[in-house]
């Protein structure tokens, strides 16, 4: 668990260094994620030890997120004028995306039992 946390914070820190040096407009944690992914794919020693800490954080991601979400209700005055636009964009938009993405995947990934299937 400690090894995993150490690895996660270390890669986040690397991400932070990289964006400060290059000025790229990406979140440090996303850069850290890419760096860790590359390190894992290159079989860098010890990186596999990230598993327990990574698993625990991802399992309880809702705990980390929902305190941000309560702001919608508690600061509703900010959003109430656009309630219709929000509802349509989020609900209808999601249904439309789901339809279009599924159609696109059917085209791209073909029928079940094609040569790619294993």
């Amino acid at each position: 668990m400690i090894d995993g946390l150490l690895i996660l914070l270390f890669f986040q820190f690397l991400g932070e260094i990289l964006i400060r040096l290059t000025g790229i407009p990406l979140p440090a944690s996303v850069v850290g994620m890419v760096l860790l992914l590359v390190a894992l794919l290159l079989n860098t020693p010890f990186t596999q030890r990230v598993a327990p800490a990574a698993g625990a954080l991802i399992k309880h991601i809702s705990l980390l997120i929902f305190p941000l979400g309560v702001g919608i209700v508690l600061q509703w005055h900010r959003y109430e004028d656009y309630a219709l636009a929000l509802a349509v964009a989020v609900v209808i938009g999601t249904i439309l995306s789901m339809l279009l993405v599924t159609l696109m995947l059917k085209k791209l990934m073909g029928k079940p039992g094609d040569p790619h299937e294993h």
Partner: protein, 243 residues
């Protein structure tokens, strides 16, 4: 007498109170979610918010103060985002043979989801900050709340839009797959992960191990692609929408 009561009331303004309330609400939400057999409408994100929304106004803590109290929890979002590399690595391993169509599908799918949300909100007259909050709505929340800073959106709104997107996606996937006659586990999983991120992925595992793996992969790739592209593309999109 009244000074003792004042002392007690001041407790509500400590990080201990905020974090305890947050953890207790989350624990309650996990219990409800388990009791409901993981029904998407009872997702912990929604249920855990209810006690917090009720209690904070009662004890006179506003949202800014609550965010300050729970800074420790918010800090963990950083390492949690880095942690997404782990499941992504595991899934990439499993589907190496179909990697090219998957990457192409991710690029197109991520663009479709973002464009539809942004387009609809803009068309209905939402201001730039609201439109910007919706751009990352199909990607996993820890990445979305980071990316939304680059589109000038509201973190709260982005977090909520992402959660509702996940719930709507998970609920409507079944009827949509029946309508489009989709039987391929890979397509079901990939569509769920791409549009409805983690909540969709949980739903995909109900179709089976293979659908779940493809959903997890789509979630990771879609988040990655959107996070890498949006901060570069957004200034250009914003300028174009502003005209």
């Amino acid at each position: 007498m009244s000074t003792e009561l004042d002392n007690l009331a001041a407790l509500a303004h400590t990080p201990l109170f905020g974090i305890l309330l947050t953890l207790a609400s989350y624990r309650f939400a996990l219990w409800v979610y388990g009791k409901s057999n993981s029904l998407p409408v009872f997702h912990p994100f929604l249920v855990a918010s209810i006690p917090v929304i009720i209690v904070l106004p009662l004890v006179g803590v506003n949202y800014e103060e609550y965010r300050d109290q729970t800074r420790l929890i918010a800090f963990l979002l950083g390492p949690a985002t880095v942690a997404l590399a782990w499941p992504l690595y595991r899934q990439l391993h499993a589907v190496r043979s179909v990697l090219t169509p998957i990457v192409v599908a991710t690029l197109i799918g991520a663009a479709i989801s973002a464009a539809i949300a942004v387009g609809l909100a803009w068309w209905l007259g939402a201001p730039a900050e609201v439109v910007g909050s919706l751009a990352p709505k199909s990607i996993t929340t820890p990445i979305a709340v980071e990316v939304v800073k680059s589109t000038g959106g509201y973190v709260s709104l982005a977090a909520g839009a992402v959660a509702i997107t996940g719930i709507v996606g998970a609920l409507t996937a079944g009827p949509i797959f029946r309508l489009l006659k989709v039987n391929d586990q890979r397509i079901k999983g990939f569509a769920l992960g791409l549009v409805a991120h983690a909540i969709g992925t949980a739903r995909a595992f109900e179709y089976g191990e293979k659908a779940g793996a493809f959903a997890g992969l789509a979630l990771g790739l879609c988040g990655l692609v959107t996070a890498m592209a949006l901060p570069w593309i957004w200034p250009w999109v914003a300028q174009w929408l502003g005209q």
